[in-house]
Structure formats: C-alpha cells, structure tokens
C-alpha cells in the first residue's frame, strides 16, 4: 500500500505543495497517467474550493492519498468548516449552453463528479471530509 499525507495552509499559495504531495504519491503508486491526471485535478479542485468558499475557517487542511485495493483514495479534511458538501450541494453545470451563456463557476466540481468513481462526504464537530475514489484499472 502506498500512502502519503500532509497538512497544508489554507491558501492558494499552498497549491504547489499539494501537487508535490501528489507527485510523491505517484512516484510509488502503481497507477498510470490515466489515473494520475484526474486525481491531481480532483485534488486541486476540492482544495481550491475549500480555500475560496470557507473563508471563515482557520487552521490547516489535511490531505491524504492512499491506495486501497484497486482504488486511489483521496481524503481532504477541513477541521473548521460548516456542513457543506461541495460536490452534492453544488448546482449542476449545463455543458451544452451556447458560449454567451457559459459561466466558468462550477466547472471544477463538475469535472470532479465526472472523473471520480465514488465521492463521499462526512461532517462532524466542524470537521468536514471529502473522500474521492478513483479506480486504477
């Protein structure tokens, strides 16, 4: 089993550190580019969503990446968050709208929904965790 984790600051400036964590994970995880790219994208989208939308939150964000059976499992935990599931509570995005009606908001979560195989959310005592599963086969 491959597992890496880190606590990172809750600002956009920490994104390179988040991506370095993914790089360290994929250096030893038995997963190819077809898994790596969606996992990196989902990690970025959820992390930036937390940073942008939970502005009152304090403290670090915890990120865990691990393999479990045939899955890569990504957990992102905010220890100071109101109950808000960014994936289930976000409105759907209509990707068939003409250009002049398109908005970029919501596109990141839309991609996460499309690219991950399973998404779970838990919240208790102001601690919210989003767990994403991506199959490696």
């Amino acid at each position: 089993m491959t597992e890496v984790s880190a606590s990172v600051k809750r600002n956009l400036g920490a994104l390179p550190e988040v991506m370095r964590l993914a790089e360290a994970f994929f250096a030893s995880a038995p997963a190819g580019a077809s898994v790596r790219f969606p996992v990196e994208l989902a990690l970025e989208e959820i992390f930036t969503n937390i940073v942008r939308h939970n502005r009152e939150g304090t403290g670090a964000i915890r990120i865990d990446l691990r393999t479990a059976g045939q899955d890569v499992v990504i957990s992102i935990t905010d220890f100071d968050a109101p109950r808000f599931d960014p994936v289930s509570d976000a409105p759907p995005v209509d990707i068939d709208k003409p250009l002049d009606e398109r908005q970029s908001g919501g596109l990141g979560i839309h991609l996460v929904r499309k690219m991950m195989d399973r998404i779970e959310y838990s919240h208790s005592n102001r601690t919210g965790t989003i767990t994403l599963h991506k199959r490696m086969d």
Binding site: L15, M19, L41, T48, L99, S104, G108
Partner: protein
C-alpha cells in the same frame, strides 16, 4: 512550471496551467485583440482555473467576430475539454 509565449499568430502553452498559474495566463489572454491559434502540444495539465481563462478570452473575442483556435489538444486535456463541453464552443483541430 507554466510558461506562455505569445507570437504574432500563435500562443504556445507549456507545463501545468493550474489555479496557481491561472492569473498569469488570464492577464495575457484577456489582453488579446485578435484571433489566435493556441498550441496545447506542450501543456501537461489544465484544471478549471485554466478553462475559466480560455472561456473568458473566447467570450471577449467572439463578441468581436474573432476567436481562439486550439491545436494539438490530446489525451487528458482533450478529455477535460470534452467533459466541459468546450469542444462545442472552441474550434479544436
């Protein structure tokens, strides 16, 4: 690492266009006055932050009867464009 080189007719993107780099790209794309070809052949990664920059630039240019043409869009980046419906609002080829 992300790099953007603007030529007379072509923009070449290299590396990773993520949320940390999107502002650099936004400044350049939103200052475009004319149609351009954007070469994705050396781009390794794009997230919604980069897609937002492309969308804003395309809206501005199409309003003036112009637009971006995207070339060498392959692999994962093509998948992201398809899942976002961007293949319907950009000239890709």
């Amino acid at each position: 690492m992300f790099d953007i080189v603007v030529g007379e007719h072509e923009i070449i993107l290299t590396g990773r266009l993520d949320a940390a780099e999107a502002e650099k790209a936004r400044g350049i794309f939103l200052s475009l006055e004319d149609a351009k070809v954007v070469d994705f052949g050396r781009l390794e990664y794009i997230s919604s932050a980069g897609l937002g920059v492309l969308l804003a630039a395309q809206k501005k240019l199409v309003d003036r009867g112009k637009g971006l043409r995207l070339i060498n869009v392959r692999g994962h980046i093509r998948d992201v464009f398809h899942l976002s419906g961007f293949d319907q609002i950009f000239d890709i080829g």
